[in-house]
Symmetry: C2
Subunit: 385 residues, 2 copies
């Protein structure tokens, strides 16, 4: 089985590439290092510098693993990505090749335009590569739980049966996001669903919550194989950021009231979900949607949990409430379904005290790299205009 991973240099892309190679897939990766460029532009580099793909592949190979093929270029460049498809002829494509930062997308006009263009163009080109070169190829698209927003009804897995004035039909579950990044992924969903209906492409859309963690069996082989770990306000997700704040002795910064609830998952579970999705593709013309997270927490719960564990390890930890730089509801109903991946066989790794301890320990070893000025929010949703 041949797997092509778009965005293979990313926090999730690279661990996924290694996992699929370990599982016997013939793996190719594509990246144009957009994330590295944005990190450099916004002073948001990872806690530990990671090599570029050709070096990572060599290091991974020295540990007895098969060599991953690397294509350096942009998925927005049709000639380039069509060439990759025609060469690789993948059975399965995992699409991470999107500008993934909500705060970056809200920084201003240029960043909004880049996000929209990059994410739509990469998805559009992927769709057409499948239509043109590999109509049976399974597209696994990383969506986000943020597409749904925080509606006042239960969030189903992608679809909803609506009863209206005595008649029924089934629709995409309504989506209403709170950043342009998340909105760009709604547009992706619209496109994928249109082309699934029209040309019978087969798609799994994984509506993922914020991911935390750094350790995977393959990343643990060599520090140079680890995911690029961001703790900054641009790319750092909330759990990763809180862990760094706890280690650095900076208050954990809760945005607003802290009652915002989201679904979270360990990076190990992201890998499991991708393996499970790839192992059982949907039928032609099907857009299969899973909500991909294992536990829901409010931001306050996360902060308290991490603070408690850190305090137990002798760290002095405070929690501070900041004015929320985002525009989001800070007290809302939240009950998203997430049984589909469990039914496929997902064995969750919950956010236990031990997981937090191990995580704090690893960040502690790299404490000297922490740059405090990267942590506080430098982008506010209101200022972008």
């Amino acid at each position: 089985m041949k797997a092509l991973i778009l965005g293979g240099d990313g926090y999730l892309g690279w661990p996924t590439a290694m996992r699929f190679a370990s599982n016997g897939y013939d793996v190719s990766v594509v990246d144009n290092y957009l994330r590295r460029d944005i990190a450099s532009e916004t002073d948001s580099s990872a806690l530990v510098e990671t090599p570029r793909l050709p070096d990572r592949v060599e290091i991974f190979a020295t540990h007895g693993n098969s060599r991953i093929r690397v294509f350096e270029g942009s998925c927005c460049d049709w000639e380039f990505i069509a060439g990759v498809f025609d060469d690789v002829k993948p059975d399965c494509v995992i699409h991470f090749a999107e500008q993934p930062s909500a705060p970056y997308s809200m920084r201003g006009l240029d960043e909004a335009r880049l996000t929209l263009k990059n994410n739509i163009d990469s998805t559009f080109n992927l769709i057409w590569c499948v239509i043109r070169f590999q109509p049976e190829c399974h597209i696994i698209k990383l969506g986000t739980m943020g597409e749904y927003g925080t509606p006042n009804i239960d969030i189903e897995e992608g679809w909803i049966d609506i009863d209206h004035k005595g008649r029924q039909d089934r629709f995409l579950f309504p989506r209403q996001a709170s950043s342009l990044y998340h909105t760009s992924k709604i547009l992706d969903t619209d496109l994928l669903w249109f082309y699934a209906r029209l040309y019978g492409i087969r798609v799994t859309d994984l509506m993922q919550g914020p991911v935390y963690g750094i350790s995977t069996p393959e990343a643990d082989l060599d520090e140079r194989l680890m995911p690029n770990f961001h703790y900054d306000d641009i790319f750092g997700t909330v759990v990763n950021r809180f862990i760094v704040q706890a280690v650095a002795g900076i208050p954990l910064t809760v945005y607003g009231a802290g009652n915002q609830v989201r679904g979270y998952l360990n990076i190990l579970d992201t890998l499991q979900c991708l393996e499970l999705a790839a192992a059982s593709p949907p039928g032609q013309g099907e857009l299969r949607i899973f909500n991909q997270f294992t536990e829901t927490f409010s931001v306050n719960e996360l902060a308290t949990h991490i603070a408690d564990v850190a305090t137990g390890m002798g760290l002095a930890v405070e929690i501070a409430h900041l004015e929320n730089p985002r525009q989001e509801s800070e007290g809302h109903y939240y009950n998203p379904a997430h049984s589909g991946l469990r039914e496929l066989g997902l064995q969750p790794h919950p956010l236990t005290d031990d997981v937090i301890k191990h995580f704090l320990g690893w960040v502690g070893e790299n404490k000297g790299n922490i740059r405090e000025e990267r942590i506080m929010p430098r982008v506010t949703w209101r200022n972008a205009r």
Copy 2:
């Protein structure tokens, strides 16, 4: 009041510009003549050649009307359109600047990409022009009834209240279109709604059905002021096409079973709807949506009605069922609400025998221009891949 009309050279854009100027608005129009370029590329020119905007403006002025300002350029070019906004400072923008042909968008990869890029970029730039230069400007966006598709439940005006497992919320009415053109307008809606929530832009989205007709009080002043009338398979809407077929003595070509029902309106009613929307803007942050049509017909009903009237005028008319070049349901439930514009004051012009007679008469005067090879479908949805 200053009105800026994007796509002011179009079938609806130009009559709208004249109407608003007649009503005392200070009108500016923008167009890059994309439709003319596509018509030339696809051999789909209008039945009667129309002058470009600067000439039309001069002719319109000779009839005692105020001079409309013309900006020739692309709404996808940020520097250009930002310059227009900063200069004009409109109170109201009417956005027609989209690639409007469903068949063109389904012709192949290049046409799909052009449609998506043009329609998203023009809408995105418009939104940011409003944010940057005129935050109180009222955006009137031409959507399409085709965004909704043909769901098995009543179609409401843009929004739906969903009761789900004992809880309630209000959402955008689900959208599921049957061409990439229509899908691009779903993406527009996602963007407009996001920015309405985020930055409080005020938007009216007019979900329009297929428009027919050629006569407006301003267009009737001078044949060179008429809307560009397309009867081809690319730009010609179904009523206009049937009228031309009846005059040319070609069978009226019904696609498939002909039970496809849509909501239609006379070009006079498009103008009324735009005037009514502009006269009562929504509040800041509001996305107000109207379903813009006056009557629903199946394709068979339209064909029969036009054939009957034409036969009564002594024309020999047949009806032929073609294999449907589109992918669409040919027998479906269809009950869309459309009370909002009536409540604002719309006085519909129904498709009466007299309207059809007058229309047949006008096309008859231009019968010599009809090019039969432009009428049969040259694009099929399936072949585009």
